[in-house]
Symmetry: D2
């Protein structure tokens, strides 16, 4: 699961974080940004172009780590603002109930999700955004797709770590054909 560096001053040094990643599941949030019409129906989903550590780029959902003493909803808001910019106006859902929990294992094949660096457990939410999105940091761009385009093989194969599956699970959750 690719992510940008946390903008908040670190609670852990890189060495300490690396050590923790070898020993503990790390709590994440994943967000699927969507545009909706007046009735709340999803009309499009936003995917980031993100540079990965190995220099390639891939399409990605909003993702990031939950920090010590940070509420899940504050973490969600922080990562949405980090990736979509300060005027995206994300509507973080009122309920803490995620639509699913995505378990990224360092060993491929344990689940549908994979992250070679760590065992990350991500609470996944669909988040309507109503404002203007301006990707920041290593999120190079944000592209909006219709639900039909988002599940196309072309888009799916540009997503890594199983996030294509998570995107389809999100679309299923909002009533679309996944």
């Amino acid at each position: 699961m690719t992510e940008t560096t946390d903008t908040t001053p670190g609670w852990l040094s890189r060495e300490e974080m690396d050590a923790a990643r070898d020993r503990l599941p790390i709590l994440y949030v994943n967000a699927v940004p969507v545009r909706t019409d007046d009735s709340g129906a999803v009309t499009s989903v936003g995917l980031l172009w993100r540079a990965t550590d190995d220099g390639t780029i891939s399409r990605a959902l909003v993702a990031g780590r939950v920090l010590f003493h940070e509420r899940v909803r504050d973490s969600l808001l922080r990562h949405l603002e980090k990736d979509l910019g300060p005027v995206a106006l994300p509507q973080v859902p009122p309920s803490p109930q995620p639509f699913t929990v995505a378990e990224y294992f360092p060993t491929p094949g344990t689940t549908a999700f994979h992250d070679q660096r760590q065992h990350a457990v991500a609470l996944a939410y669909v988040v309507p955004v109503t404002g203007d999105c301006r990707p920041r940091q290593d999120a190079l761009d944000l592209v909006w797709f219709t639900p039909e385009e988002a599940v196309s093989p072309d888009v799916q194969q540009e997503m890594g770590g199983g996030q294509g599956v998570l995107l389809r699970q999100a679309l299923a959750h909002v009533g679309h054909a996944p």
Copy 2:
């Protein structure tokens, strides 16, 4: 479950509707209007003052029947606009998954919910509203309560048909003590 008259021209005459109510469960939507802060946390819930058929008034949630050939989300939007006015700006959730299904039986005690007129099955949603609420029709007023006030015995006993229970289930769903 008290509700206002449908503003949309009827699909059924009153006699036909009365006959159906004796024979079939009737599909409803229930909405709990909420105000949220930037992080999506619920800061207050809105309750209507509604005149009931027997001339008393009680506090109530937004409620109404789903019409023939009407999508659930369109019905939800229609009843929210009917009860909260045209500039309430309700954010109908992107997912059709309700937080619960409230089954109102004509016989008290079958479930926590009761409606002497009919067997109504209501899909229940928490709906953030960001605009200005101006109750219309027989919704006499809308009052905002903090989550703590909303579960107080005073407010609970002013709600009929089990809607006090539904309100507490909604607060539980958004992470508050019910």
Copy 3:
């Protein structure tokens, strides 16, 4: 949405039911029978072979109407027993929260779901069954598929009315690639 005739003595004559179907959304339950392993992970899903009114057969989920004064969970249990036999031992979920609401419209294309006879709104649940399934009535057979087989084009095209989409939404809900 194909279904078997209700085995419970009717609350409505066929003529009355036909009249209601022209005027009101009709409340249904849909169930996706699954086998799970000890950890609750879904290992297979059960699909019925069902004869449709026009004489063809198609694969189908467990489906049926909620009767007047019947609780949703009693309706779910009744239809599961009707379609899977008396010793299927279905584990009806403790929560009334469905994983989705499938809206079948008589007009194709309004949603992903279609039922030419009526506007049916189905509360959809995933139901583990642990016993021996013996289809009854017009459910001709029950076949178990792995999650991968269930989403294959072959199986999907044997399902009508959008139930292939609902099956994939169910698989997404239980953490599988839809």
Copy 4:
């Protein structure tokens, strides 16, 4: 959040775990064991008597940490077997979607949940158990309560860290008055 010692050989020494607890949110599972009738309706909830570190005892839900490279559902099963014994026959839900996420903060008042030792984030599930429960380790006893008894002030005040709130949220989720 009181818990028994993990029976699985540790991935972390106590010192390392203590260090991690000062720096990272720790992922937990919480389970509310329930008995259901044939229709899946919850008839009773099981609460443990648990000895806390300071020598007092309190009523508690099943709770425990998710280990490195352990799936959430395997963790849930492990903690259920640890607390309820080997023949409790818990039915871990097929979906990874928890009914809520309980955020235990070391600082009281941040949320409804508190754990002085750590920032723990617990995925919470309602789990029907059909077998014979025999508490083990420091779970001294398991007592079944009706939903009405479980929300009584007497029982609520015997629960610590906000688990009384979580229990009521669970009851709300399964359709009971919380």
